[in-house]
Amino acid sequence: MTPSTRSGPAPAAARPDRPAGPARAVSDLAATASSEWVKLRSVRSTWWGAALALGLSATVAPLTAVATVGNMQQDRIPSADVPASEMAVYAAVWAVQFAVIALALPVMTSEYSSRSVHPALQAVPARVRLLAAKTVALMSFVFACGLVTGTAGTLTAHLVMLHPLIEGYGTLDPAGAAADVVRLSAYLALVAALTLGAGTALRSAAAALAAVSALLFALPAVLVLLGGRTGVYVAERLPLSAGVSFVDSAFVMGRSEAALTPGAGGMVLLCWAAAALAAGALVLTRRDA
């Protein structure tokens, strides 16, 4: 074997480095987010999750409307207006959010289980950027899903409440409905971010699912069971209650004395999502891939 002395085309010239700075960072983030969107749309779990979200919203919202009006007719709860969009909010918190968790969970954990995290990090060695891009792509998609499923839930709830048997309670105020749908979409997007953060920090879908379920559902239930003012105080500041305060509908959980204001609830939920992502970023940058 002779060392190569043959002449050939010159090696590909590496492109000159672009100057670092905010412009480059934004451009790189945009490119990476576009890559993450390709990843998101090219696996079935995303579309199954989205279809499930739509199906759940379009069934749970009208069923809730029927049940709520039925309870009012039988005087089990005080009669009041039943805004169709709040039925969609109810569906988002108690049903659609599970589809969103299922959709968000594999965004990072599947990279580890398939080891595609290696090529991903070879292309994007700036790991925080990778996670930021995933967050942007996932939250945008889930927000859009929220708008579609929230609208579908609102319309189906409105339609059933036109039925002669339960007519007279339902209301549909376009501005209020739009605000509700936007709020529930933001709620779902933040839950997706929280799930992504947990998946990044824990790397395994099973562990992340356990952690997210515990934080969202088990922990508040336990705290409220234990009772006491501290328990309630803390429970109101966990992601679920904070989110329910944020979406601002009495139908989801009933009004609580200790509940945060919508603005504060939104901030607290945002902080939970940011904390989960920060934990994910920390693990992602510190640990070997």
Binding site: G8, A12, R18, V38, K39, S114, L121, A123, P125
Partner: protein
Amino acid sequence: MITLQGLSKRYGDTVAVDSLDLEVRPGRVTGFLGPNGAGKSTTMRMILGLDRPTSGRALVDGRPYRELDRPLHHVGAVLDARAVHPGRSARSHLVALARTHRIPDRRVDEVLDTVGLAGAARRRAGAFSLGMGQRLGIAAALLGDPRLLVLDEPVNGLDPDGVRWVRDLMRSMADEGRTVFVSSHLMSEMQLTADHLVVIGRGRLITDAPLAEVLDNSAWSAVRVRAPHPEDLVTALEAEGAGVERPGAGELVVTGVPIERVGELAHRAGVALHELSPREASLEQAYRELTSDSVQYAAPTGGRR
């Protein structure tokens, strides 16, 4: 060019890579050899910034991988053929990688064509055979037209055509002045492809030398002589300090002197020769000699009865 400076990696008590100093130069194929568990894959992961060294540095074109601007234009790498989401199509996998560097989709179709996967581009990668997965990995490595290729056992699972294709690819990349760093356990294949060899054992550097030198230094490299009356030649050779074995009557195996010198000595001693031929070591033999002390996971010899 890849530069390793005192590169070390520990996992708990295991020292996977032990202060490796190395330069992998452009314009040639550098084979990276070593027994199972020697630390080859770990070294490559550190080069690619996937694992953080416990100490020391791994530099690509003078910089840590994580600091490269648009790294896919610097380095193309295949560590693991199956590192693809099983539910994603081959094309989507590549498009997602390409988007990070604003590489146009046209280039994706080009590399799919290059590796012979154009027909399977829209199939789920989970249904790919090992060899197809390897081809997809190579396609990803070629996306950015990189100056440096890092391949961990790239021919593993490839059919003979594929093996040949990878060999030609590595040769042509090196001939174009690019850097090719490839690990393999297939010595015959390495002997055909590599110009330069780096051998490690238990994380430590054993050899960093041109292939030809490694083969020449093998104890197996020798000169075979047949002569009806070799006694005077044996005396002359031993006076030169050569090793002489006599496997049969009228037969010599000479080590430690070049074949030309054996011919001259025979001429001077007036010994008639019936044969004077080089016995070339295979890389397999040379490799076994080099690593015999550092094999950690060996099957018991003698085989099962």
